[in-house]
Amino acid sequence: MQGFQTAWQLLLPQTVLVITILIASLWNLCFPKLRYFNACISFIGCIIAFCALLLQDLGSPQVLFGGLFTIDHLTICFSLIALIVAMVVIFMTSGYEQHLGRNVGEFYAIILTATLAVMLLAGATDLIMLFVGIETLTICCVILAGFHKGDKKSSEGSLKYLLSTAATTATLLYGLSFIYGLTGSTNFNVIRDQMSYLSLPPTSLLIMFLIVLVMSAIGFKLAAAPFHMWAPDVYEGAPTPVTAFLSIGSKAGGVVVALRLLMVVFRSSAQDWGLIVVALAVLSMILGNLIALSQTSFKRMLAYSSIAHVGYILIGLVAATQVDEGTQVQKGLSAIIFYIVIYGVMNLGAFAGAILFSNETGSDSINDYAGLIKKRPILALLLSLCLVNLAGLPIPPAGFLAKFFIFSAGFSTSWHAFGVPVGPMLVIIGLITSIPAIFYYTRVVIKMIAQEPSSAVAALSVKESEDTLVSQIGPQIALVFCSVLILGLGTVLVDPLMALSQRSVQPIVGTDLNSYNTGVPQLLPSLPLTR
């Protein structure tokens, strides 16, 4: 009974969210006249869950449900990120409701469910839990992506997403079944011990296959090249708040899964997955940045550039492949969390700006942003702030520092493959591919600030009309919130955020491989599938 009570206490944030989901989904049915309050209810639920998370007094990691779910600092960190994203997205949605038709209630409920899924993923330490979490998240995303009923692009994107996700679910399940077959357990820690005990030779084809199978699912969630093909169509077709959520909320889920799976389960074969991660990182950085360069739609540009940002995040993971060097691992992993938080804030800000702009002009074309500063100076300035930081320019140095930490972690990696120092090579590719990034982000800024107004902007009235004013409030709050956070994260909050990142990766850095090597019985003989 005691354990049960602790479990409920520990799961309070998730419970609050579940209740909020139930209320949000039923609200419109029960109170159709008050349906505009749905955003408030969802927001309040998030706030309560957020506070509950913050108040959680966590000494050592708490394992619940016989190892299915673990609450440690990593769980809390990603849950916080998910909730912040959810709150910002709710604000954005409140200014986007007019596009969504009558089913607003479901929309909030599904967004919150997706958030819940990320929170569950963050703490999943069991294959079953992991799979359930991923699938919940995916299904929510599929529904959300197709929420523009009647819009062809939205439906097409949704369908593409569904089809691709079916394929990656298959590969993931295939991989997981192998893992279960090899180790006889679904618990991460047991699997890790078994895997290191199995002592598969480092170049085993089976291990490679396993890793690629799992990585395909993670890469799909992260939208890392070459598993990115769904991303542009879905990002473009989905309602903009959903795109914002997909580009950061669902990515955060992917990252935490990657951290747990790769750093815990596949710890003993770190260099094997390191190779795959290098390949994904290089492909993502090059493809993402080059394709983003030629986009004319603002949303599509952000979508492709988010692929590039995943490439940068993966550099941090490569830095963590030196599992024997605790400081190096910590440096890489904490840089990842630092990057995700800052990237998330910048990106959400940019999407909020996109919503504000398209609400007024109905356009999404980059050329239409020209001269925005003449009509909407504050919007143009805040949006510029987000974009300049996305480009990694130090004004203020939030985006710059995020990149800097990732690159410096990557640069100090001592791993050589074929005599090539992998870390510095990745960093150099990252730096070179940053050049187009700076170009395509600042192009928008220059257009907004320096050029003469485009016809869409010129048609704007100097004062906003009363009904757009009301619908703009939500996205405006989101944009201001993100901008303030960027300003803070570039200056006074650098240190606290870094401390938070370092603390939250402690549970997976601190796992000492050697101490688990003794006393675990051998279940299977050495496998023949080795070179």
Partner: protein
């Protein structure tokens, strides 16, 4: 009455008040002219009163300083940058100079700019400018200084280009910005070099901080780094020279002086502020503040860094004086005289007369601000006329302005008993001790100074009026600041003078006894103040030189009995004509730079660009074109809308990556 401690610890308000005033005006108070003016003047008046109290608190109790407080604004596990507030004697003196001049300039502005539509905007800029300069003064480390340095630069850009609809003003603002950018670029590289060499030594102390009780200040750390071998003397010299580019640009030193005369396109109050208290003083202040950078690694004079400062200063002082001889624009003559006097300050710093140099900065701020405000009053009274050939006889119409201008002219020429005499004499004595020829050059420059300043005075205020406007005396709000400034212009010199030294004055070329004076005892470098003895001979020679300059100007421009000026200007003799042309066209620097950019840099860049464009970009573009087409056709094959293909692509990648990794993995 609050204690001295109170004044030291609340210094932050002095800096934030003008910033706050500026921001409030920008954010909407500009709608009311009166409120803008009151807010802006109030903020700086508060700063002035506060600085006074601070100054007296420190003189009463020297143990209060140095005091500093720092917060980290950028901190990682092994590196942090601080922002903070520093109070010591030098800061107290600079605060006094900046707030005094700024206050009077702001009051004067009310009269000068009353008719201007941008009145409130001007006050907003003035406030921000003053705030930036105050922030620069109280910075605790080089990075913070750099931050405010750039703010000062950007505010000066706004102010010089205040009448942006005039093409010349817009160009002048751009020119000032560009030249300062060149300097700041060197400055930043210098800072980063220093940081790279010393970064392991700072520990938890303020990185690149100026003052530290435990010896972890710039000087101490440079010494430690030198001992540990991290910082060689050559590297320090390189960093020192690069860092010097910043002060050279800000303080308009050769060869980065070209922006200052053009900056006269701004309204006159801003010329006074830039030239006396804020912008140009920043360069000299920085050199004084970060003095250890230019010393030898173990903290002695005689380094290459100081020699560079000396040479730059000497060239500047001489060059600017020769140019001022032939100019006709009243403000430009004053501008060149500022450049020349700044050269003196640099020479002082370079030859080791640290206190003397700051003393000259202090005195110069008052009389130069006054001279500029005088020129503003004249221009105002003549409805925008700036050419001294169309003035003359104005003493009759605007006597107050004329007498103030006379005081300033006497002071800058080094008339014994006025403030300029004492500080200039200290610098000249130091220069003579450093090198006789340098001393001679400085004395000759003093002769030129006296000549061109009296030329300005005589042509403006004496003889008959040559123009066709109706000159009139300015309103009290304009002449009152002049009169107020006249007092320190006369008296501030006695702060650095000890009456006792007159007793031991010898005229045989040896120095008298070194006796304490108040200014050098208050502002000095190192633990113990250093007092210069007075050298009677040098004093006599430089005074004679100034007197000669005065006499020549009298003969040429007052009585008209000598006609060297017209003889030179119309001379057919090639050398003389060339020299006159050289001086009139400002040593042809603008032409030279234009030639450099147009004939050397731009063709070179376009050559490089063509190479890059032809071989790299084109190849890249062609390649991406082909690659896009190729991937396009592949993608078209895959993305044909059939669901199973999405699955197929994913499965194919899974298989491909597995095989790739299996083969590649060593």
């Amino acid at each position: 009455m609050p204690s001295g401690q109170f004044f030291v610890e609340n210094i932050g308000y002095v800096v934030s008040a003008p910033f706050l005033a500026g921001l409030l005006i920008v954010l909407g108070l500009w709608r009311s002219k009166t409120i803008s003016m009151l807010l802006s003047v109030g903020a700086v008046a508060f700063g002035f009163v506060y600085s006074m109290f601070l100054f007296f608190a420190i003189t009463a109790n020297p143990k209060l300083v140095p005091w500093q407080i720092n917060v980290d604004w950028l901190a990682t596990s092994n590196f942090h940058l601080s922002m903070g507030l520093l109070v010591d004697n030098l800061v107290a003196v600079m605060l006094l100079v900046v707030t005094t001049v700024s206050l009077l300039v702001q009051i004067y502005t009310h009269g000068y700019m009353r008719e201007d539509p941008g009145y409130s905007r001007f006050y907003a800029y003035l406030s921000l400018f003053t705030g930036s300069m105050l922030g620069l003064v109280v910075s605790t480390n080089l990075f913070e200084t750099y931050f405010f340095w750039e703010l000062v630069g950007v505010c000066s850009y706004f102010l010089i280009g205040f009448w942006w609809y005039k093409a010349s003003a817009a160009e002048a603002a751009l020119k000032a910005f560009f030249v300062n950018r060149i300097g700041d670029c060197g400055f930043l590289i210098g800072i980063l070099l220093l940081l790279a060499a010393t970064k392991d030594i700072w520990g938890s102390h303020v990185v690149l901080g100026y003052v530290d009780p435990n010896g972890f200040d710039l000087g101490g750390v440079i010494q430690r780094a030198h001992q540990s071998g991290a910082l060689s003397a050559g590297l320090l010299t390189l960093a020192a020279c690069l860092t010097l580019l910043g002060p050279m640009a800000k303080s308009a030193q050769f060869p980065l002086h070209v922006w200052l005369p053009d900056a006269m396109e701004g309204p006159t109050p801003i010329s006074a502020l830039i030239h006396a208290a804020t912008m140009v003083a920043a360069g000299v202040y920085l050199v004084a503040r970060a003095y250890p950078i230019w010393l030898t690694p173990d903290g002695h004079t005689g380094s290459i860094g100081l020699a560079v400062i000396t040479v730059v200063g000497a060239i500047t002082a001489f060059m600017a004086a020769t140019i001022a001889l032939s100019q006709f624009d009243i403000k430009r003559i004053l501008a060149w005289s500022t450049v020349s006097q700044l050269g003196y300050m640099f020479v002082g710093l370079g030859t080791g007369a640290f206190s003397g140099s700051i003393f000259h900065l202090f005195n110069h701020a008052f009389f130069k601000a006054m001279l500029f405000l005088c020129s503003g009053a004249v221009i105002h009274g003549l409805h925008g006329e700036q050419d001294i050939r169309k003035m003359g006889g104005l003493k009759k119409y605007m006597p107050i302005t004329a007498y103030c201008c006379l005081v300033g002219t006497l002071s800058i020429s080094g008339c014994p008993g006025l403030s300029g005499f004492f500080s200039k004499d200290e610098i000249i004595a130091s220069a003579c001790k450093y090198n006789v020829w340098l001393g001679a050059l400085m004395i000759f420059t003093a002769f030129l100074t006296a000549f061109y300043m009296f030329r300005l005075y005589f042509m403006t205020f004496e003889n008959e009026y040559r123009g066709d406007a109706h000159p009139h005396e300015s309103p009290p709000v304009v002449w009152l600041p002049l009169v107020v400034l006249a007092f320190p212009s006369v008296l501030s010199g006695y702060l650095g003078f000890n009456w006792q030294s007159l007793n031991g004055l010898k005229f045989d070329g040896t120095e008298g006894a070194s006796l304490a004076n108040q200014f050098a005892a208050f502002v000095h470098f190192g633990q113990v103040p250093h007092f210069e003895g007075m050298n009677g001979l040098i004093m006599l020679i430089s005074t004679t030189a100034a007197l000669l300059g005065f006499c020549l100007a009298w003969a040429v421009y007052k009585t008209g009995s000598v006609h060297v000026n017209s003889d030179i200007a119309t001379s057919k003799q090639p050398l003389v004509a060339f020299l006159y042309d050289f001086s009139l066209n400002k040593w042809k620097f603008d032409e030279f730079y234009l030639w450099l950019v147009n004939e050397i840099f731009l063709p070179f860049f376009s050559f490089i660009w063509q190479l890059v464009d032809k071989y790299i970009i084109d190849t890249f573009v062609n390649f991406t074109g082909v690659a896009t087409l190729a991937t396009g056709s592949v993608v078209r094959l895959m993305q044909n809308g059939r669901g199973q293909y999405y699955a197929l692509v994913i499965f194919a990648w899974v298989a491909g990556l597995t095989i790739f990794a299996y083969i590649v993995r060593p």
